[in-house]
Each structure stands twice: as C-alpha cells, then as structure tokens.
C-alpha cells in the first residue's frame, strides 16, 4: 500500500494538518487566547495539509537530493517490476502519465460538478423550495461553479500535457518534475474544496465577493485555499507549456509551422502565467481579513469592497479565455483533418488567439458595469469588450472557409467539433448584449448571462474536449472507441444542452435572477425551468453513455489502425500509445502542418542526418559545434 505515492501523500498530509493545527492552537494559548478559533487554526491546518501532502507523495524528493549534492535517479524509468497502473497514482514525471492523470481527474470533477448541476436543476424545476434549504442551494451552486472551473483547468492541462511534447516533437516537457508537481498540487486543493461543503458551506457563489465572503461560514476558507492551490498549479503548468513550446520544437518547426492547438496553448499559457496571481491574491486577501482581521475590503476599516472585484476579475475574465482558447485550438486542429483541406488562413487563426489573449486583459470591468464606475469607465470597457468579437469572428469565418469545398466526414470527433461551432457561435452572439453597458444594466445577473456563459463553456471547452478525447483515444490507448455510442453521446448531449440554455435565455430576458434557489411563480418561469431540468438530465445521460463507451473501449475496443484519421500531425506518425520518449528517431519538420491536398507535400521526416546538431533545444546555436 505504502508504495503508492497517493496513499503516502494522504497519510503524511493528514499528519501534517494535525501538526499545523496543534501548533497554531499552542501559539494561541501562549498568547493568552482561547486555543480554538475556527479560521486561523483551519488556515494553518489547510496550508500544512497541502505542503505535507506534496512531501509525502515525493514531490520534493529529487530536488532535496540535488540540494544535498546527491544524484537523483532517473524518474523516467520506474521500477520495471512494478505494475504500470501504479504510475498513475504516484509522482511520475512522464508528460503522458501526467496528461492522463489530469484528464481523468478533470473528467471525475466534471461528473461531480455535473451532478451538483442536476441537484440544482431538480430544486429549480418548480417554483418554491423543493427539498433544499437556501443555504445548501447556495453552497451547491458555488461548488458547481468552482468544481467545473477546476475541471476545465485540469482538462486543459490534460490535453496540453499529453499533446504539446508530441506535437512539437519533444521527448517530454521542459521541466518534468515541476510538471508532476503542478498536477499533484491540485489534488490537496480539490480535497479542500470538497471539505468546504462539510465545514458549513459558503453562500457566496464561486466569486466569493467580500464583504459577504468575509462573513460567510468557515467553508469559504477552504474554498479560497483550494482555489489558491489550483491556481498555483495553473501558473507552474504554464511555465512548462511556454518553455516546451518555445525551446523544444523539432528542427524545422518554425512558429508558423506549429500545430494550431499549440498556438492556442501558447496564448493560454501566457494568460495563465500573467494573470492567475490576481485571483490568488484577491482570495488570499479575504482569507487574511478572516484570519488576521485585516481590512482590505471592509469599509469600516478603510477598505474598499469594489477593489476586490477589480483584482478578482483581472484574472477571472482572462480566465474564460484560458478555458476556451485551447478548445478553439482543438476545433482548428481537427477541422482540416475531417474536411481534408488546409486550415484556411492559418496565420490569422493563430494570431487571433494571441489577439484574444491580449484584448482579454483589457476588459475585466465589464463584469462591474453596475458597481457605479461612471459613464467614462463603463464605456471604455464596453469598447474593449466588443473588440473581442473581432478576433473571435476571424476564427469563425476561417473555419467556414475551411469547410467550403472540402470533403467532410462525420466521425464522432468531427460531430463534437461541429457542435462546438454552433454552440460557441451562439455563445459569441449572445455576448454583445452583455458587453454593451446599457443593455447589461438590464441583463446583468440574470439567466441570460448564465445561458451566454454556458454556451461559451460548452462550445469553447466541453464539446472540443470531448472531440479531443474521441480523436486521440486511439493514440492514447491503441484502441478505437465505439462509434455508435459516440454518436449517441453527441446527439443526447446536444439536444439536452439546447433545452437547458434556450430556457435560460428565455427566462433571463423575462427577469429571472441568477443564484436564487426559489423564484416567484407569478413570473411564469416554471415551464421553462422544467424544460431546462429535463435537458440537464439528458446531458447527464449522455455523459453516462460516454463513460460506458470509454470504459468498454479501453478494455475491449478494436485495435486502432496506425493513423485512423489520416492526420498529418507528428504524433500520428509513431506507434500508439507512443514510446516513453515519444520519437525513436528525431523528427524534422519540412512543410506546413495542414497541407492536405497539396500534391507530394510532406510535414515531417524522421532520421535525417545532421538534424540534431542544429536543434537549438539541445545545443545552443552559438556555443555549439560550429
């Protein structure tokens, strides 16, 4: 049992938490205060839990050895006698192991958060309180939000971890140990978020605005710290993505020969690296209000409640681009394969991701049109906000042009790509009414916004994520998924989803407020709410079909052909699943990634003499052999 890293982590982490809490209580007694005070004691306990969990799982072992001047063993070659599955529950630096760890955790969190959504939908199916107290509802709603956000961040990292080194022709990530740390730090974070439910919950929603957040039950402390841990993971992960993308590409792969998903992740990683600190800081400041009585956001102590929102949204708006840019990258990546045509306007599609990332930093206050910023600031942020539509539109038009005169086929991954197109289009078109200040005065905090947001998340992440899972399933497992179940999943999910969001849009325009457990029967929302609930359960059903498909196909799916999609991308030119270090002979990129239909064109060649000494990732070009 103890040979399993996860078990060691849990045990050492729990011991660490107890020690941390005991020390805090001892210090309080020494200061002449009562030993127990929920917030400070829990705070130290939670931080110790995270640190000791990581110690227990072995996250710092190699660094510790190095610090002492010792050699660390090669972590890439674990004990050959140990069963393979143990790698997935241990601190393992292989990007493919980590990619699967992330993806499976993300899916597990999606199921949890989806279940929370179904509980909410049951409560909302009719007016009046059905079976929940308002506070339970509020907690479940906040948890649905934050667990989904965690699931999306982990899902993005899962795709990026598995795919980036393969797509750029690298043997692994630039910093494999840091990479494993980025994954494992999310685990104690997720545990803290789950713990928040059992420590009084929180009634603030996932935004945790103070002063409410400063007064909420103890649960919110665990919520804040759990998000903090996941945020740290996000920052560390982005360092790896950026370095790997910029420094470890195969020779010949100039920036404009990268697969477009890598472009999406490049833009995403920049946002993650630059912005994530802000949500961490905003949450930490509220934690300090609770633990040490500081008054950052408390007007009674000279603080400013609106300040929190500025700091919070400076991350949390760009965060939505963290969620969608990889997904839009997946759409751009898969479309040419199933259309059998080059991606139309490759450079424009690539650069539009960067444009979205940059403009995304300038729009945060559009979440705050009703806090009283004044006409000048409000209209400034309105202009920056609507500009996001331009690079987003570029993607859509290029996708349409890619499809034009292609040879389109409809395998499951393509269905999800097409579904993502329509859903994200509606997500995009429902945005400007929120982005223009005056209409937002009406729409803000209504179900219109909820509908808009779910369209962007399903179109920008969920559908592309599903497409990616089906598309690379043969690559990861060496087996094919079941096509009929895949299509059933798609149709159930799409129909269910539209039932949910169409109803949300409708009642939002009628004035249904967000984040309420109960609504006025006189407003006529009941029918639509019932439709939304039924749609929600259809989506849930579709995810069960997905689960059955994945589990069955891993165990007994047909052997996958080498390149089932006739893709040109690097990762499809090697065996499935790929060898430990990906490419037995170094790949050299000699053409464009999407030259489908170009006679005789070649994207990648293997085993070319002289390739490796010109590879700047391994030898610096100036100090090399020349």
């Amino acid at each position: 049992m103890l040979s399993l890293g996860l078990i060691r982590g849990l045990i050492v982490g729990a011991i660490g938490a107890v020690i941390g809490m005991a020390l805090t209580m001892a210090a309080r007694v020494a200061l002449g205060r009562p030993a127990w005070s929920a917030d400070p004691v829990s705070f130290v306990g939670a931080i110790s839990w995270i640190v000791f969990f990581l110690v227990g799982i072995g996250a710092f072992s190699d660094w510790w050895r190095w610090a002492q001047g010792e050699q660390a063993g090669d972590p890439h070659h674990p004990d050959p006698n140990a069963p393979q599955w143990k790698r997935y529950f241990s601190f393992d630096p292989s990007h493919k192991v980590i990619g699967i760890q992330y993806t499976v955790t993300a899916l597990a969190l999606m199921y949890v958060a989806g279940l929370l959504a179904l509980i909410m939908r049951l409560e909302l199916a009719r007016s009046g309180l059905q079976f929940m107290s308002p506070n339970t509802y509020n907690t479940i709603m906040g948890l649905h939000g934050i667990v989904m956000i965690g699931a999306i961040l982990l899902g993005v990292s899962g795709m990026a971890n598995y795919l980036i080194p393969l797509m750029v022709g690298a043997p692994d990530m630039a910093f494999p140990r840091l990479n494993a740390l980025s994954f494992w730090i999310t685990v104690p974070g997720v545990v803290l978020i789950v713990l928040s439910f059992f420590t009084g919950g929180f009634d603030t929603g996932w935004t945790g605005y103070p002063p409410l957040g400063a007064r909420a039950p103890l649960g919110i402390l665990f919520f804040y710290l759990g998000v903090f841990a996941i945020g740290l993971s996000s920052i560390l992960g982005s360092i790896n993505f950026l370095t790997t993308t910029l420094k470890m590409r195969a020779p010949g792969m100039s920036l404009f020969r990268m697969p477009i998903f890598v472009w999406g992740m490049l833009a995403t990683s920049i946002i993650q690296l630059v912005a994530t600190q802000f949500i961490g800081m905003s949450f930490l400041m509220v934690v300090l209000e609770r633990v040490l009585g500081m008054g950052f956001f408390d007007p009674a102590k000279g603080g400013d409640a609106v300040l929190f929102q500025h700091i919070f949204w400076f991350y949390s708006h760009p965060a939505v681009y963290i969620f969608i840019l990889p997904g839009l990258g997946i759409i751009s990546e898969l479309l040419p394969v199933f259309v059998r045509k080059p991606l139309f306007g490759y450079k424009f599609v690539a650069l539009s991701s960067m444009a979205i990332a940059i403009i995304g930093f300038l729009v945060w206050a559009h979440h705050m049109f009703t806090v009283g910023l004044g006409n000048v600031l409000n209209s400034t942020f309105m202009f920056t906000t609507v500009l996001v539509a331009v690079p987003t539109g570029i993607k859509f038009f290029n996708w349409l042009a890619t499809m034009w005169e292609g040879k389109i086929s409809f395998e499951t991954p393509m269905l999800f790509v097409l579904g993502a197109f329509v859903i994200f289009l509606i997500g995009g078109l429902s945005g400007p009414p929120n982005g223009t200040v005056v209409t937002d005065f009406f729409l803000h905090e209504t179900y219109w916004v909820v509908g808009h947001f779910h369209h962007t998340m399903f179109g920008g992440f969920v559908f592309p994520f599903m497409a990616a899972i089906y598309f690379w399933f043969p690559k990861v497992t060496g087996r094919m998924y079941n096509e009929r179940l895949g299509k059933l999943h798609f149709w159930l999910m799409t129909i269910g989803f539209f039932m949910v969001t169409t109803s949300m849009f409708r009642i939002g325009l009628l004035g249904m407020r967000r984040r309420i457990a109960d609504y006025d029967p006189a407003l006529g929302f009941d029918t639509f709410q019932m439709i939304a609930t039924m749609g929600g359960f259809l989506v849930g059903l579709s995810m069960l079909v997905f689960l059955v498909n994945i589990v069955r196909s891993i165990r007994a799916g047909e052997r996958a052909p080498e390149n089932p999609w006739r893709s040109r991308s690097l990762e499809w030119q090697i065996s499935s699943p790929p060898p430990e270090f990906n490419y037995p002979t170094p790949p050299v990129v000699v053409g464009g990634p999407y030259d489908y239909g170009v006679p005789g064109s070649v994207y990648v060649r293997f085993g070319i003499a002289g390739a490796s000494d010109a590879d700047p990732a391994r030898t610096s070009s100036d100090n090399g052999k020349s």
Binding site: P134, V306, G372, D518
Partner: protein
C-alpha cells in the same frame, strides 16, 4: 534594378561553374554575401551573413529539401530557398512552388518575390521523388466563385429577413415602465436582429457545406489545397469591427442620455438601503421611512443607494436599470417611472442565504395618490388599539416604526399573509410548532430571543433565513418596543 531590392543572397553548390554562373547572372542586381560548396559551410555562412535568399544547386538528386531543414531553424522563417537544377531545367522555390523550364527572369522574379508562372501538378517531372511540390491553382476565376456562392447567399437573404423581423417585433422582456428603459429595449432589439442575421449567415454556409461538400463513401482524395485569402481576412476583420464599434458608439450615446451626471429639476430623492435581506426606503425631503417603495408616475426619481452589510443590487425589472448597493459607497441611479402599476424590487447581487427572497413592493401611482400616501405617512400615527391588556401604546407605536425601518415587514406580515417568515398577526400568546417538532407558547421572552437569535426556534414550514445581526443593530429598548407592537397584532 539596384541590388538592394533583391537582397542578400547565399549560393550553395559543389560546382565552381554553377557558382560563378549564378554570381555572374545576378551581376550587380543582388548582394552575394557568400558562395559555399557544402551544406556544412552553408550553416555557418547563414549564421554569419543572414542572407535573405539561398540559391542551392539542385543537381545532386540526393539533396532533399529535408536536408536543408536544419538550416531553417529558427529565425530563418522568411528566407527564400531556391533550388535550381540545370539538368531538368527547373526551379523549385522553397517547399511548394515549382517552375518548369525556368529562365533567368524566373530566377530574378523569385528572388524579388514577384509572381511567376505556375505549372499544374500533372506536368511534374518527379512522381518518383516525392518532394516539396507545387501548389495547385488556389483561387479560381472570380465568376466561378460568385456562381458557387449564389445559392447560399440567396438562402441567407431569404432567411435573414424573417429572423431579423421576428427579433425586432417580439416582446422578449417584461413590461416596460420607465423612460430610461425605452432606448435600452430598442438597442436590445437591434442587437438581437443583427445577431440573428449573422447567425443565419454562418449557419447557412455551415449547413450548406455539410450537405454539399460531404465526402462520398470510399473517397480518399483530399479537397482543394486552398490556404487562405488576404482580402477575405481583411474583410471579415474590418466589417465586424465596424459593426461592433458602431453599436458600442451608439450605446455610449444612450448611456450618457439615460445616466445624466447632473440632476433633473423637481426630482424626488429616495434613499434606498439594502440589508440582509430586505430594503428600507427613506424620503429625506418628506421625512418618510418605509418598507415599500411608492413613486409618483412621470416624475424623475434620484435613488441614492446604500448598504449596511454586504453588496446588494437594486433592481426593478420593469424599470430595467440595476445598480449595486455597496457598503461604504453611495451610488446614484435616476429613473422616471412611466406606468402606474405594482412591481417589485428584486435584489440582483447574491447577498447570502435569503437572497432569493430579498424583495420589496413597489407602487407607481398617480401624483394625487402619491400625495395622499405622503399625507398618511406623515400624519400623526393613528391611536393604537386600546383595551389589549398590558400593552404600552406609545411603545407599540415606536415598535411599528422600527418594524418598517428595519424591514421586518418585508418578511413578516401584520395581516396574516404568509410571506418568507411567519406572520405577526396573532403571534403573541399562540403556541408555536418548530422544525424539530417541539412546541412553545410565544411569550415576550420567546419573541425577544427570536429577534436576537433567529435560529434558536425555527418555525415549522419556514426556512432559517432571518439575519442574525439584529443584536448589533437594535437596543434592548427597541426590542421591547417591537415586542409591544407585535402584542397589539391580535
């Protein structure tokens, strides 16, 4: 042509004759930065001289473009690599384009980056040697494209009109009751109509492609290798930018219209205080404090928004605009009700447990009715009911004012109506049944405790949502007054 326009050129060939021939051919039209015999030499020459173009002797059939790839990394993306072979009389320009029967002019054109004649793939000499190949004609003649676009464009136009009209003419929002809401509703319709047309445009091309360009079973050919079109990219960057900036400019105009920074003449001032979980309305000029919002029709109102605890948001959906009540900040919102009727204030910012129930009644009335209401509020309070044993009439009257001021009546009715909390009518002296099944007679001590610690006794059938902070807000005397008031409600 001066040499600077052709740029810096590097020549790679093992044959002196080839090298000198090319050098002489270029003459003073290009700056030859290096002449080398092998790839290994070429590498260092590239690093040293940064050529803009490399001319490679392609005679050696083993020399594949792939062999050159290591040279291209990383910053040489823009370098033009031109293979010239004397044997086949052809020329290949890095990775795709190929010119058969190349002439001196073709070479100079290629160096300049100018257009040159392309050959069709069938004329390719190199079936046996899969090499970076030429690209097929990318852009068909203009007439051809227009003909192909006719059908989807027609469908778009035909479908756009009803969709736009439907959005334009359908009432999707609640009844409108404020002057400031008119331009908002107008803009909303406009945005929906525009979005509808864009949606139709995209969906028509989307489904048209899915139907018309679907792959036939067994067809393993690829589609035409069209890589892009800069004019199209410019068009679909500029046109959407114009649309959204136009919309935003129009919206900014409306914003300044409906959110004036200076007051209206004759505006009615109402101080709106949000607290967990109710509303208090004070009319400072009239000396009225109320838990319901009564407004005269067609008179501008300045709402000054406050909060005593957490952030709330003051919103009457029929009046359209919402604005946050933030502790420590005074926000201003001006609205002009235009329609007599009864509405509700609905808190629009999550403010904790009972956020869903944070409502307050709104009555928009005729001017005369408003004056009457003002009179009734400011007139001496009616004599308290006498005869109830042990009731301090003056204290009860103070209690009634407190109940209004602190929003108690938002959740507790005085006439038996079931609101969020239990009614106060007949409360005193009755036997209460609680959630855990226990019972107790509601005496003075019970009421006092229920105000200070509402969770101590949660009446069956009601949620435990009452704010727990009244012990910080009310003095013992005030609580006694409230109890006296409740005692009168029999």
């Amino acid at each position: 042509m001066p040499w600077s326009e052709l740029g810096r050129v590097l020549i790679v060939s093992p044959h002196p004759l080839f090298r000198e021939g090319i050098v002489r051919l270029l003459g003073d039209q290009a700056e030859v930065v290096g002449v080398v015999a092998s790839l290994a030499e070429a590498r260092s020459a590239i690093r040293k001289h940064r050529p803009q173009a490399i001319i490679v002797d392609h005679e050696n059939v083993e020399l594949e473009e792939a062999d050159l790839a290591p040279l291209l990394w990383p910053e040489l993306e823009s370098v033009r690599i031109i293979y010239v072979t004397l044997a086949g009389n052809e020329m290949i320009i890095h990775d795709r384009q190929r010119v058969v029967a190349a002439t001196e002019k073709d070479l100079l054109d290629a160096l300049k980056g100018a257009s040159y004649k392309r050959q069709s793939p069938k004329e390719s000499l190199r079936e046996a040697h899969p090499r970076p190949a030429q690209r097929a004609p990318e852009i068909p003649e203009r007439g051809g494209i227009m003909r192909k676009l006719t059908v989807p464009l027609l469908i778009t136009v035909v479908l756009s009109v009803p969709v736009a009209l439907w959005f334009w003419r359908t009432d999707l929002t609640p009844e409108l009751a404020a002057r400031e809401g008119q331009p908002i509703d107008f803009l909303l319709r406009l945005e929906f109509a525009i979005a509808g047309v864009i949606f139709v445009l995209c969906m028509v091309f989307f489904f048209y492609s899915l139907v018309v360009f679907r792959r036939a079973p067994g067809d393993l050919e690829d589609g035409p290798p069209v890589h892009g079109s800069t004019p199209l990219e410019v068009a679909w960057t500029v046109i959407p930018a114009i649309i959204v900036i136009g919309l935003a400019s129009y919206a900014a105009g409306i914003l300044w219209d409906i959110m004036p920074t200076t007051g209206y003449k004759d505006e009615l001032v109402v101080d709106v205080t949000g607290f967990q979980w109710g509303w208090r309305f004070e009319y400072p000029d009239l000396g009225i404090t109320s838990s319901e919002l009564v407004l005269p029709v067609n008179r501008p109102v300045l709402f000054r928004l406050y909060s005593v605890d957490v952030i709330h948001s003051f919103w009457i959906p029929e009046l359209r605009i919402k604005m946050d009540n933030i502790p420590g900040i005074e926000n201003h919102l001006r609205l002009t009700p235009t329609k007599v009727g009864e509405y509700k204030v609905r808190c629009a910012e999550l403010c904790g447990t009972a956020h869903a129930y944070m409502l307050a009644p709104v009555k928009v009335v005729e001017q005369s009715a408003f004056e009457e209401w003002v009179k009734s509020q400011t007139a001496a309070a009616p004599a308290p009911p006498t005869g109830a044993a042990g009731v301090d009439a003056q204290a009860a009257e103070r209690g009634r004012a407190l109940a209004q001021q602190f929003g108690c009546l938002g959740c507790h009715s005085t006439d038996g109506t079931k609101l969020v909390g239990p009614t106060w009518k007949g409360l005193f002296g009755s036997t209460r049944t609680f959630q855990d099944g226990s019972t107790r007679v509601a005496d003075e001590e019970y009421i006092r405790e229920s105000i200070l610690n509402p969770s101590a006794y949660v009446v069956e059938g009601f949620p435990d949502v009452m704010p727990k902070n009244f012990k910080d807000q009310l003095s013992e005397d005030q609580i006694r007054d409230l109890v006296e008031f409740i005692k009168t409600l029999q």
